[in-house]
Symmetry: C2
Subunit: 245 residues, 2 copies
DNA sequence: TTTGACAACTTGTATATACAGGATCTATAC
DNA sequence: GTATAGATCCTGTATATACAAGTTGTCAAA
């Protein structure tokens, strides 16, 4: 990108060089001062770029020494963070198919309304989709999109990426989400779709997603086959800030 | 703390004020310039503090407007990130008990050795612990601590917090971990301990934990009752940096 | 009344500078 | 040889400054 901020394009470049093996695992990156010279920028800007790499688990900074390239870079995949099925599909190579099972008006469930505030209009679009990988049903995704934010969802969009539509076409600024992962028994309709045999247990990932201006707009219930579910996370040790209260 | 860095103590203070309701959800924090004056510091330092709050899901920054206090602050709990059972227990109020089932020498499993590098010494201390909340068995934790980093584990420590021992007594600098969450069938020994009835499925959280100098030192297999497992996460939208490769 | 330009706020990015403090190597003293 | 002190690299923190860019209210012109 030409218009991109300096620190982000530096982060991009460093990330690519690590993933392509130009900086190999276990070795040190050039020092911040050297990187600043290489990219023709200031040390502060390089540091902002390195913060990105640190958060993504690509490097580990050691005070007085330098930035070590981590080998987690190659196989670790940030499923943590908000990333969509289509984006995942593009980055990994899976033979994935999406089938739209339902696309209709349906109000936001009452128990969700309680969580996000009773003042808002529950009118929403309900989208139910089956995700298939290598002819095997893996996930049932159920989305509720608030009409107040996303007035309508064309069928073509449901077939593809909701987020691409919202971000690129509607210019919505998706910012953050709260997620919960639980394991729950499912009803027969779902069991049949996912071919759940032994137990009727499935992994349920619930997300409440918000825009940049903090307005809630999407509730997603993602139902996974337990034997195909895998959540990968890179976590940094955080000494709790808040004491008891 | 007296010796604490300025930006961290500002983050502390703001966090407390939000959690105690001094800054209420939906309202704006004072502007960065005002905060800088309030705390007698520079805007850059205030901004570093606000980054912390943003990462913890306490505020949402809006360009040109300000920092909105989020209501997720109160109930969302960062289980994401590396946090220990004892720390969790201290922050929430649960009637939790830890029982040490095993404390012995046992080498690191071969499949883990493959992941962390065959060159290191597999000699480790194996600790198996049962976590009970309100007289109900919830979790079986199995830790392997490399002897090369943690030579010995006193029984008293196993009863309490491993991390407290490693950080406060051994002065180890725990930095990051890779985690996976899966759902798997368990053998009878585990099923009996957790009173798994319907199916023999349990939630397994595997962690590989590393020190600040990138040396691996701990493998943990955490086995949860599926009906008691809940993973809560706050995630920010991240537009993938790395294209396909 | 409505529109539009502008001023006055806000946060975001970038630079330059300074010093503290950890890591590492070397040269000196013992 | 060993150990200590110092020089010299590194990252971490903090400040001051400048300007870009988004948001909001005001005020004047249509």
């Amino acid at each position: 990108m030409d218009t991109m901020q300096k620190y982000l394009s530096i982060a991009q470049d460093l990330t690519n060089k690590i993933k392509h093996g130009q900086y190999t695992e276990g070795t040190l990156l050039p020092s911040e001062t050297i990187l600043a010279n290489l990219y023709g920028t200031s040390r502060a800007t390089v540091r902002k770029a390195l913060v990105e790499l640190t958060e993504n688990g690509l490097i580990q900074k050691i005070k007085g020494k330098g930035s070590v390239v981590l080998d987690t870079a190659k196989f670790t995949f940030p499923i943590s963070g908000i990333t969509t099925f289509t984006e995942l599909n593009r980055n990994q190579q899976m033979n994935a198919v999406t089938t739209v099972l339902a696309l209709e008006d349906r109000p936001l469930p009452a128990e969700i309304m309680k969580q996000v505030g009773r003042h808002l209009d529950p009118a929403a679009t309900f989208i139910q989709r089956l995700r298939t990988v290598d002819d095997e049903a893996i996930v049932v995704d159920e989305d509720y999109l608030l009409k107040s934010v996303v007035p309508e969802v064309p069928e073509i969009v449901a077939q593809g990426s909701l987020y691409e539509y919202m971000e690129d076409t509607l210019n919505l600024n998706i910012a953050y989400a709260t997620k919960t992962i639980t394991v729950e028994p499912m009803d027969e309709a779902i069991c049949a779709k996912l071919h759940l045999e032994t137990a009727n247990l499935a992994v349920v990932v619930r997300s409440l997603t918000y825009l940049n201006d903090t307005t809630f707009f999407q509730y997603t219930r993602s139902i996974h086959r337990p034997d195909r579910f895998k959540f990968v996370d890179f976590a940094r040790r955080k000494h709790l800030v808040a004491k008891k209260f």
